[in-house]
Symmetry: C2
Subunit: 133 residues, 2 copies
């Protein structure tokens, strides 16, 4: 089968720590980026941790967006998983990179739901020890 989903893994380094610790701002940014690219929002759940850090996920009809922030490292891990050709995950990524003011974004794209690419390792069910990248 062809790829069913397109999964962007974003490592956002050099972010603005105050923004990363602001639950309302992070949530608004995630919902805005989903809406701006035409995604249909089905639900979301966000939390702020003590002493710092925000986690949240937006489930969209076209899959999901997630964020986990570490203000103390000026770092956020963002995932954008899209199974729609009408939705450009790169556009959502750009909004998040700018909104969190990341000076050093980096990106890995994984095609999901195809014959697993060579970087994936078939594993016996009892022995889930995958290859690292």
């Amino acid at each position: 089968m062809n790829a069913l989903g397109r999964h962007l893994l974003l490592e956002l380094n050099g972010c603005n720590p105050l923004r990363l610790d602001d639950l309302d701002l992070v949530r608004r940014l995630m919902l805005t980026s989903a809406r701006e690219v035409g995604a249909t929002i089905m639900g979301d759940t966000f939390h702020r941790f003590q002493p710092h850090g925000v986690s949240g996920v937006v489930v969209i009809a076209e899959s999901h967006l997630s964020v986990h922030t570490w203000p103390e490292h000026a770092y956020a891990a963002v995932d954008i998983f899209s199974c729609s050709v009408s939705f450009r995950p790169e556009a959502a990524a750009r909004i998040l990179v700018e909104g969190l003011d990341s000076a050093r974004p980096s990106l890995l794209i994984v095609e999901r739901g195809t014959t697993p690419p060579a970087s994936f390792q078939p594993v016996p069910r009892e022995e889930l020890q995958g290859q690292r990248v």
Copy 2:
């Protein structure tokens, strides 16, 4: 910095299509796998799509688990993102592989929140075109 998170990407092929289309079963399985490995559940959101397929995310204090199913392809994309050393994402993965009865699971492990591994590509903010794996 050392890795802050451990992200398992699971491609579950050859699953039981009836299970993949059962919202209650998929949600219960995801919550069970989170609890069984000692994760603290903060919230969850699940949806069933027409004509088929289930999407859902569990936000945990230790990050998140997500699932997207394509019963028509006997396929599920599962992600388990953990930022706790006390939580073994492989154990959660095993529960999901067995619960969805995947005959051909494959796995990619990505360390998150470290100096990005070589497979990640630094990108100018305006030009988010990452490397594919």
